[in-house]
Amino acid sequence: MTTNKKELENEIRTLKEILYQKEKELEQLNKVFEKSSNLSPSEISRYSRQIILPSVGVEGQLTLKKSAVLIVGVGGLGCPAGQYLAAAGIGKLDILDSDEVEITNLHRQILHVERNIGETKVKSGYDSLKRLNSNVEVNPLELHANGETLQKVFSENKYDVVVDCTDNVATRYLLNDMCVFNKVPLVSGSALQLEGQLTVYNYKKGLCYRCLFPVPPPPQTVTSCGEGGVLGAIPGVIGVLQALEVIKILLDFPGVLSGRLLIFDGSDTVFRNIKLRQRNPQCVVCGDNPVITKPIDYEQFCGSKAADKVTDIKILNSNDETDVKEFNSITKKIVIDVRQEAEFQMCHLPNSINIPYKNIVKGINLEALNEILTGVNDNEKVYFLCRRGNDSQRAVSLLKEKFNDSCAILLSVAGGLNAYSKLIDPSFPLY
């Protein structure tokens, strides 16, 4: 049964790959016929609802058809942004991402569906966008955005607008600089938990990202969607607004969101529009005498990786840690799960006790922990557990100092519940 399922899955994957290649071949053949500079009857019908807007008209629709837009990041922001841009009839839409679709993406990354899990995001995005509008030339760029790859992409293509749908600080600086070098407006969106932010940089002598943020934030102050969580509709709102700003820029509308920042708080449904500073003439990249004229090492500049993945830490000696196999072999044990309450509610091991790491740091609500650590037998082991084995290390390290007179042996479970799910019990949710 399992073998059949695996075989079938592999067969489907191969067939999808063939289909994808054939579709791209067909698209290449179609490209041979020069794109008409007029609108076909079917295009007129298709876009009629926006063409009849006086501010768009046939001329505006033709402008969109001649336009090229690069979307960097085909995730929570890039999916809705791409969807509305493809639907609106942008001529050329390049989508860039190096990630693969995971099940944890599906609640917000609406171009990807269940059967795309494991495929690259650009391939899945390409399929969805082409299905939505086959008139649009969609180019999937399976690349990790860095100075080298982006320089190549920008040298081979001329973009009218770039859309920043990325998920990390380093890539945001990189994209900003590339857009300044190439004189392309940048529509920048971001989202986390229940809030979103949106603005347009480098537009008609307006400010750039570095004018607003000359110094990157300290890495420990940055939260990713994987860590802080995000409600799917939040990047949805911001991504759709990004598409709107792109269209306004392409059609030269007067009300582009440049020099202003839109702040969206979904918990109260409040939109605030903030007036921002002007371009800084001393800005290192867009100023009058720029110091930075080619890409730098952005990961070094920001002190963080150009990805939203968590980097694993190693702060304990090996005798303060245990692996999941050994942990699992012990039947009766004290297990303290240091994840946040909401994560603990989502899934936890039976008989584990939830004492969030943030409480341990703050030193609040630790009565239960006190009781455990003072009540144990000599050399009794107390296991600390979290999602990946990072906070459990931090907790053990902190508590060893705090309770240095306790006779318990404090152990961090290496790799945490993720490792437990992978190596011991696959039915335990991986997130």
Binding site: G73, V169, L192, E195, P217
Partner: protein, 100 residues
């Protein structure tokens, strides 16, 4: 005593450092010199910010990545830390988001 009433707001995650409160109305005590944002930051540090100060402050200003907005305007246009606070000003500290 004439105290100075100000609405201090937090967003973008900065509220997590302030008991999850997004809006706090505060009364700044009367003093000889005028209240500036620099003074307000010290007041916030002493009265509202209980933990992890480095997540909010750096030197005599806010840490990089926090935007300060006075009545919905970037403080860069209002003389930054030297802005003289007026009664009922709305001062928003917003942490910028990077997720997508």
């Amino acid at each position: 005593m004439n105290s100075l009433q100000v609405n201090v707001e937090f967003g973008g995650g900065a509220e997590l450092l302030f008991d999850n409160k997004k809006t706090v109305t505060i009364s700044l005590p009367e003093k000889k010199e005028k209240w500036t944002i620099e003074h307000l930051l010290i007041w916030i540090k002493d009265n509202l910010l209980k933990e992890r100060q480095e997540m909010f402050l750096q030197g005599n200003s806010v840490r990089p990545g926090i935007l300060v907005l006075v009545n919905d305007t970037d403080w860069e246009l209002m003389n930054t830390i030297n802005y003289i606070i007026q009664p009922n000003d709305r001062i928003l500290f917003i942490s910028t988001l990077h997720g997508g």
